[in-house]
């Protein structure tokens, strides 16, 4: 055995804080199941699997299964990059903190704006759709009035907010239960659909229309957004460096598998398009069934439960980001306050709740509120793609900074960044062709607001990169006494 002084570096002894900079949260107590529920909540696997055949088959045709595989492969590259960060730091600011660790604060603030827009709009959409679904299910003739829906929206917001304020364990498990219930019903729907039809899908690669397949892959990438939401609860999850990456991987894998099954075994794989009953989901899934009322009830129930879970999970992401930004000094510090009783970021939950409720309430005031709700969802895609691409581009700098270079990780990161850039370009070109460049406007707004925010904070002189890199660092309690010189 060599002496303890052998190879001692010239650096100073590490000084660890007594308490985390994120003190106030219920630290490291959520089980893996809750982290998984969080990621599944934002991804909505059951609901997405139900609508994916509808969205994908018209674009990709018979090779939609290949689009699913290609889209999943690209997102798996993005996942491998995000996992590189989540295995090294526990940060409720998730992608924003990852970007701050790897690049200039300007990039981190652009990612923060993109996250606020993407997850904020996703939460707003999920809340609004929950109200619409609940209204449809509770109205006697399945037709809902905007006033009825608005009242239900307020009720849902109050229930979701109460779940979040009472504690992350309550809200994360509410999300998990919602997702398990909706996936169970989805499996039943697929099994019933397969039993009804003579399922015979083709996996022939001989006559693949690659342009349609790639267009389908771009559509499918947007279906997989939100898989990394577990990172927002990393400070509150036990063994975060194990449980958070596993939750991300499991969520993405579950999404890809369920959507592949839906595309392969869905009735549109065997029944020619057009034989379904109109545009209703029941018509797509049960085109040969005459009892659309029962089928519709099952499908709409799955979607309601999924939407509530999504609202909980995406609101949780926004609240943790606002909390992190406040603790970092990029938002007023008072916004980083926590509840002493429940140890949740109560101020951030209330403030982000006001923000995510506004678009939904505004949509219900429109005469064509269905289009308004749809526009809310459309506005999330470019934000997600932008932040994934930027975070992928930040990984090489991060690995270099901590002196852990890894050629394969860097290659995957750059490939993921290039893939996300390609997806954004394809989306923008498509939108420009249709004359509705929502994605382009959102992406430009994210960059513009990020730059303006950085300039304001820089002028104020109280922004440092170290502050923006705030994460749940190890405290003196987390290490062996020998490592703090005790």
């Amino acid at each position: 055995m060599t002496t303890p002084s052998a190879g001692r570096p010239s650096r100073r002894p590490v000084v660890l804080p007594v308490a985390s900079e994120l003190a106030g949260l219920r630290r490291r107590m959520l089980p893996f199941s809750a982290a998984l529920g969080q990621s599944l909540g934002t991804s909505m696997p059951a609901s997405m699997a139900l609508v994916t055949p509808m969205a994908l088959l018209p674009v990709a045709g018979k090779d939609a299964w290949l689009s699913v595989l290609l889209g999943a492969a690209l997102m798996w590259l993005v996942r491998s990059t995000v996992v590189q960060f989540s295995q090294r730091l526990s940060a409720p600011g998730s992608l924003f903190t990852y970007a701050a660790q790897g690049r200039h604060p300007l990039v981190a603030l652009v990612v923060a704006v993109a996250m606020l827009v993407a997850y904020g709009m996703l939460a707003a959409w999920a809340l609004t759709r929950s109200a619409v679904q609940l209204s449809r299910l509770t109205a006697p003739d399945r037709s809902a009035s905007p006033t009825h829906e608005l009242v239900l929206l307020v009720v849902i917001i109050v229930v979701v907010a109460a779940g979040m304020l009472l504690g992350v364990k309550v809200s994360a498990h509410m999300t998990l239960v919602a997702e398990i219930a909706s996936i169970t019903v989805l499996v039943g729907i697929v099994a019933f659909s397969v039993a009804q039809h003579d399922t015979a899908f083709s996996l022939d690669l001989a006559a693949v229309d690659w342009s349609r397949t790639l267009a389908g892959a771009v559509v499918f990438v947007t279906v997989l957004e939100g898989f990394e939401a577990a990172a927002a609860l990393s400070a509150e999850t036990s063994r975060p460096f194990r449980n958070v990456p596993r939750a991300m991987s499991a969520s993405l894998a579950a999404m890809a598998v369920l959507c592949l099954v839906a595309v392969l075994l869905g009735p549109q794989a065997v029944v020619p398009r057009g034989t379904g009953a109109g545009s209703s989901l029941a018509g797509w899934w049960f085109p040969l069934s005459s009892d659309h009322a029962t089928a519709d009830l099952a499908i709409e129930t799955v979607r309601l439960v999924s939407f509530v879970g999504c609202a909980l999970a995406s609101w949780a992401v926004v609240s943790r980001l606002v909390f992190t930004l406040a603790r970092a000094g990029a938002f007023p510090r008072a916004w980083g306050a926590t509840s002493r009783a429940f140890r949740t970021p109560s101020t951030a939950i209330v403030l982000s709740g006001l923000a995510v409720a506004s678009p939904g309430i505004a949509a219900f005031t429109l005469s064509d509120h269905a289009s308004g709700i749809s526009a809310i969802l459309d506005s999330t895609d470019s934000g997600f793609v932008l932040m994934y691409g930027l975070v992928c581009a930040c990984l090489p700098g991060f690995l270099r900074r901590i002196d852990e270079p890894s050629p394969w990780a860097v290659l995957a990161a750059w490939t993921g960044a290039a893939g996300m850039a390609a997806v954004l370009v394809v989306e923008v070109v498509g939108e420009l062709r249709d004359g509705e460049p929502v994605g382009l406007l959102i992406a430009c707004a994210c960059v513009g607001l990020g730059v303006a925010w950085w300039a304001v904070l820089r002028r104020r002189g109280d922004l440092t990169l170290a502050q923006l890199r705030i994460n749940d660092t190890a405290t003196s309690e987390d290490v062996h006494p020998v490592s703090v010189g005790r």
Partner: protein
């Protein structure tokens, strides 16, 4: 003190076990100064990819933690739990056992 959760282990990775203990030994020797992944790889003459892979597992299981700059590695509190179990168990079963200081990795 909670018992550690069982992890999947096939028993076909004896080298990885050796490397894990060598790493823990090396990090313990560094004391409050800590050690970086690159330094570990150089001192133990291990490929970087192997070092990272084993380190990720040790960090996931909280035997090793990262310092505030995320580059320096320190011994985690889980080692305290392990040591407590070993010393308490040894004291109860065989009080005459010799103390620590036998063997160790070259670091």
């Amino acid at each position: 003190m909670s018992l550690p959760e069982p992890t999947f282990f096939r028993g076909r990775e004896p080298k990885a076990v050796d490397h894990s203990f060598q790493m823990l030994w090396c990090i313990a020797q560094a004391g409050p100064y800590g050690v970086t992944a690159r330094e570990l790889s150089q001192r133990l003459r291990m490929p970087r990819a192997t070092t990272y892979r084993i380190l990720k597992h040790l960090i996931a299981e909280e035997y090793v933690v990262r310092g505030p700059d995320l580059a320096v590695l320190l011994l985690g509190a889980r080692v305290v739990e392990f040591a407590w179990l070993v010393t308490e168990g040894a004291r109860t079963a065989a009080p005459e056992l010799p103390g620590p200081g036998h063997g160790g990795a070259e670091c």
